[in-house]
């Protein structure tokens, strides 16, 4: 099966799996969590909303599972995610739509910076492997990638937000969140710097390690030796011959890395009360707002899937060997 088709299949299957997990979980868990949730919101929601919830979570219903599943898919495909219990009467769709751009901007940009930065440092470390720089970088990168994101976020929030007062602390972001708009690009950037730094610094460590190891392995390859034997400049050998090949596994390993980064980013958002999906998810969890939780999970999963698919496409562009094999 050609590479691209296989990736599309994985994309579709994973999307299906994410949707199905949402359907199955509330029906599978012991102790009937959905019922507990409904009981909590009895009286706070309109009877119509409650009735809709019972259908959505399969409580007190006489429909068969299959019928429920079909109805569920109908809802998902038409973008009907139900009402948020926390932000009632706002719909889940509205809440997610409001939060999504924040997360996309924050996580997208800082992940990109972390990737470029980490990969660059990894290349430099590998090129001088065995040197003092390499020796120091390794444990530092390990320590950075072994730090809990949220803990590091708390520390820099405390130091740069409270003690030094250089950047706004969570409160300012809450304001932006409640108002739903922003005074100007300046404040957005201002608010984003600390969370973005958290994500960038903790995520870059992982990329340093990945790239460094790939690159050290590639430096022993015959084609790198031959590049030297051709009398190419060191820089050309390093970048165009070694790094250009060593970066390929970074794209195939992207799936795991991005999932991990997104997880950390969610926690970071919570610490900074950043008005994105992570913070919304946190509130949903605190309030047992299952419809909101499900929609957020779905959106994050889809976003990660798309990011992965883009990484796959980049991989295809970068590696001629996975493209269709043929003779010129």
């Amino acid at each position: 099966m050609p590479y691209l088709m296989r990736r599309v299949l994985v994309l579709l299957l994973t999307g299906w799996a994410a949707l199905t997990i949402n359907f199955v979980l509330p029906r599978l868990m012991p102790g009937n969590p959905a019922e507990v949730m409904l009981a909590r919101f009895q009286g706070r929601l309109s009877p119509r909303a409650l009735a809709a919830l019972t259908v959505e979570f399969g409580v007190h219903t006489h429909q068969s599972l299959l019928t429920q599943y079909v109805v569920y898919w109908g809802h998902m495909l038409t973008g009907n995610f139900g009402l948020s219990l926390t932000y009632y009467p706002a719909s889940v769709g509205q809440m997610v739509a409001q939060a999504f751009p924040w997360t996309l901007g924050l996580v997208g940009i800082s992940t990109l910076i972390a990737f470029v930065l980490g990969t660059g440092i990894g290349i430099a470390a590998a090129w001088r492997h065995g040197s003092r720089l390499d020796g120091v970088l390794l444990p530092v990168s390990l320590l950075l990638s072994a730090m809990p994101y949220f803990w590091f976020a708390l520390l820099i929030l405390y130091v740069f937000g409270f003690v030094l007062g250089w950047f706004p602390v969570g409160g300012g972001l809450n304001l932006a969140h409640r108002v739903g708009g922003f005074a100007g690009l300046g404040t957005v950037v201002d608010h984003a710097i600390l969370p973005a730094a958290t994500i960038t610094i903790t995520a870059a460590g992982g990329w340093v390690l990945t790239m460094r190891n790939n690159m050290v392995a590639i430096l022993g390859a015959d084609f790198v030796k031959f590049a030297r034997a051709k009398g190419l400049a060191d820089r050309t050998v390093e970048i165009r011959y070694a790094a250009r090949n060593a970066i390929l596994p970074s794209f195939t390993g992207f799936a795991m890395a991005i999932g991990f980064v997104v997880g950390g980013a969610l926690l970071t958002e919570i610490v900074f009360s950043y008005p994105g999906l992570g913070y919304l998810l946190y509130e949903a969890v605190l309030n047992l707002d299952y419809p909101l939780m499900q929609a957020i999970f779905l959106f994050i999963s889809l976003a990660v899937l798309v990011a992965n698919f883009l990484a796959d496409l980049a991989y295809i562009l970068l590696d001629p060997r996975v493209r269709a094999v043929g003779r010129p």
Binding site: M29, S145, M256, F260, V262, L267, V271, L281, I296
Partner: protein
Amino acid sequence: MTLRAFLANRRAMAGAAILVVFALLATLAPFLAPYSPTNINFPPMLGPSSAHLLGTTANGQDVLSQLIWGSRDTLLVGLLTATIISGIQLAVGIFGGYVGGWVDEVLSMLTNIFLVMPGLPLMIIVAAYVTVKGTVPIIFVITITGWAWGARVLRSQTLTLRSQAFVEAAQLSGESRWRIVLTHIVPNMAGILVANFFGAALYAVLSEAGLEFLGLGNVNTVTWGTMLYWAENDEALLMGLWQWMVLPGLCIALLGTAFGLLNFAVDEVVNPRLRRT
């Protein structure tokens, strides 16, 4: 020979040393900790003093005792989860890689799906649905999201080994499949297995901390994660109780680094292409 290379590896030894220190802390907690970690009868919010070397929490608990006892469950969850994850990786990776055919297709697809599914969000919603909070659900959710990568690595390793001459020779000499797997394939993957184990332990410790920080574990147990949960809830940093917030996180980072170092070092020892020249 491999063992000697491992012992000579500075990174491996540094990782092992940190791990040993934490393991000693965990086993000797009753003797090392000055107080019970759950004793709430001390004056709250004390700074460091001779009676409370690291001060007390907002709830009047001794921070040092909590830190020492906290190593127990943190380490236990990390190692136990990593063991379960390694078992699943081994089973899925070898089974798929060795049996091949449609079994392999299905397992690979499943692996790919779990690989791409973002771990923490899935953990969060599963944990939110679990009505009984505690260690077992935590281990469960970390396991289901953490096995895929290693399974993929082990599968491709199995495929490589399967085509090697000594395995083919064993097949021709009529050895049974499971005997070949046990005597020829698993031993040759020992290094990767060990490296993966430490990788999984790192993942488990960090995931556990994240989940507990969100209050999705049992917040009444004492682990480094729940310590951070309470420290954040009671605004430890704003209260000036920095040691309550900084130290548990630092311990997690150090333990994680130890697992990371071991993972890295084992990889370096078994994979000659990474060796320092």
